[in-house]
Symmetry: none
Subunit: 229 residues, 2 copies
């Protein structure tokens, strides 16, 4: 939930106001008064979200947004545009930016925070939500249900993600590091042995239907999901 936000705004008063609110909401704030400076900061720090003022000295906000969305590795970063009320009618006409949302000034802190939250919400990791099945073991991401030969199996959130990953990448050995990356997310510091414990919990949950044998240990390498011995 806490994210790194870059605020591109040339007017100090507004910039400070925004920054204060964002920090209050637990975000990490970077600020740049111009597009040039912003560009460099983006390269350095890769923010999760950019708040972009419509009017900027030099390059306008529109141009900048277009440039961002054109560039390969910045186009994934969501942009929220800040526009003054009077500018809507005239300027918005030729809009071709890839902004993800707009906020018109003046805005309340609550509104801004809410829109930020809404935009960040959508960058959620999207697992393929197709149903997966293997040797009588079935997992459905949509209903969030797991069944072994029809009998329901209940798993904690982490075990669920772990099994889902293994089922979508079967027959292949995954090191503990890889599993931490794929299942826990690569920004978390967790001991590698923690994987062992969750494998254990997963196996125990699969025991009643004998499906625990599918989860195999490859000594010195990691774990694997497979039907073959």
């Amino acid at each position: 939930m806490p994210a790194t936000v870059l605020v591109v705004e040339d007017e100090p008063a507004i910039q400070e106001l925004i920054a204060f609110n964002l920090k209050q909401a637990g975000h990490i704030v970077m600020a740049a008064p111009s597009a040039e400076l912003a560009s460099r900061m983006i390269k350095d720090a890769l923010p999760d979200l950019i708040l972009l003022d419509w009017m900027l000295p030099g390059m306008s906000g529109i141009e900048f947004a277009r440039k961002l969305k054109g560039d390969g590795y910045t186009k994934a970063i969501p942009v929220i545009m800040l526009t003054a009320r009077g500018e809507e009618q005239d300027k918005v006409k030729g809009l071709e930016t890839g902004a993800d949302d707009y906020v018109t000034k003046p805005f309340s802190p609550r509104e801004l925070n809410a829109r930020i939250k809404a935009v960040l919400r959508r960058r959620a990791p999207q697992m393929t939500d197709e149903q997966v099945e293997m040797a009588g073991l079935a997992l459905d991401p949509i209903t969030h249900r797991v069944t072994g030969d029809g009998a329901s199996v209940d798993l904690g959130p982490t075990e669920f993600r772990l099994l889902h990953f293994l089922m979508t990448h079967p027959e292949r050995v995954h090191s503990r590091a890889q599993l931490l990356d794929s299942v826990w997310g690569n920004q978390v510091y967790v001991e590698e042995r923690t994987v062992d414990v969750h494998i254990r919990r997963l196996r125990r949950a699969l025991e009643p239907t004998q499906h625990d044998v599918l989860v195999q240990t490859v000594r010195g390498a990691g774990y694997r999901l497979s039907q073959r011995a």
Copy 2:
């Protein structure tokens, strides 16, 4: 016939105008300024209808419509195209891509509402004002009445919409964010925990007839309506 409508329109002024009218007519409104964002919202929130602007930044409205109709489970969602006056000759093209209707800008709110009503009525299956029933729990959108095993249950407006959405999308787990989109509309800004409170209120209202057990919590994921344990 309250329905969830997704408005895909990049121009904020028009988008807000449409949203205002739809809300006035009792619909739940979601809005997305780009095809990209719209895709994600559709997958999450499953709107009943999509209002699609002809011209969009990046992918054009036509392309987007074609993509929607090509995809397996979005092709059932009706699409109404919004076109500017000069583009009328493209009407044919629009209908070819699978749009269910089209409206030329500028349009009156009454015309838009009428078309929406017509399109929604045309849809035979899972029409939004069809009566829904599940395990003795029945909800009638027309009379706005809910009964559990015959006994009447009384709900506030929000709980009613929440239950209606859950009943029309059962078995499936919905995150708090998805519920906010589908039941509140993504134009209002409320805390995710608010969903919990309304779930609580819904459960309490369903308690007398034991139907509260249908509303299930999936820890770490969201809520689900289901008969199975």
